[in-house]
Assembly symmetry: C2
Homo-oligomer: 189 residues x 2
């Protein structure tokens, strides 16, 4: 985006928002965000209308990387079953990190409690895209009810991610057998 | 607890904490809680050491009612399968309320991001008890791996509750078939 090696104030604000809001929650103050980014409040408000808009932009900015980390390559020649399991393997790997607090696109919607908030709308869309991936793979794999299977898989994704995030459980020995049971029940190839 | 018909300041604070923290999140201020309860801050701090202790007490206070709403009667003579489905029927019914934001004992842990917080510990224990119910029923029903089945059921409980809370999905046509598939795979009677 820029030829300058040093991150711009906008980039620093997006990074600070992504990091601190995930770590501390959406109630974190504008002062703390600006301080972490090394940007004045005046500059922040020149770049973003509000903290909510900054949060939405930071989620949007990370969306492509999030999807790229989770999804398999488009043309990897694996079966729908393997491609779906790939997503859950990636989730299990992410959930192993000590600072994992659950999927940020789920957490932010839970915290904001307002589905019309710009950041909630970004987060909702990102997860809808993940659900659409599950649905497409379910269709390719001849699932008996692709829409139901997609809803079940995103439910498992969010449930496992939330429970790992609060350290109530780990994905080990849980996600893989659960997903396998659902794929088998749907007769997925 | 009291013969006085009028709720005590302590009861009013517990009620205000339960209602407002669920509606607005754990970052809600002490001023707002005291105002809603009609109690001075001075009185609040005489009753509770901190907002965190008030929150923990309010979750504790509601725990029995929460469990009673979800769980079947101890001696209802139904099969383990039916008793487990009862819990999910209750969840589906709760999730239909317009102000449903997900299970409060999950949400508070996600928001606090600190598993050593007194309120997180109360919430963790309440959900552990629900998992223990699932495990006991799985054992009674001869499940092939009662511990795995219990982990799967609480995962579905939290996933479905979180997704209904953010209006990403509804339990209708989702929870019952998902739970049925897991119970069948575990050979539950």
């Amino acid at each position: 985006m820029t030829t300058d090696a040093k991150p711009s104030p906008r980039e620093r604000l997006l990074e600070a928002a992504a990091t601190l809001i995930y770590r501390d929650g959406v109630s974190i103050g504008v002062d703390a965000l600006c301080k972490a980014a090394g940007v004045s409040k005046r500059s922040m408000y020149q770049l973003f209308e509000s903290k909510g808009e900054l949060l939405a932009a930071s989620l949007e900015e990370r969306a492509s990387a999030y999807v790229a980390t989770l999804l398999p390559a488009a043309d990897d020649n694996r079966s729908p079953r393997e491609r779906i399991m790939h997503v859950f393997d990636q989730l299990a790997s992410q959930a192993g990190a000590p600072d994992f607090q659950g999927c940020r696109y789920l957490v932010v919607q839970i915290e904001l409690k307002d589905q019309s908030h710009p950041a909630s709308r970004v987060a909702h869309r990102v997860k809808e895209n993940l659900t659409a991936f599950f649905r497409a793979e379910a269709e390719h794999g001849g699932a008996s009810d692709p829409n139901l299977l997609a809803r079940q898989l995103i439910l498992v994704f969010d449930g496992a991610s939330a429970r790992a995030g609060i350290k109530a459980d780990t994905p080990t020995g849980l996600i893989a057998p659960t997903v396998a049971v659902l794929l088998d029940a749907a007769d997925l190839r």
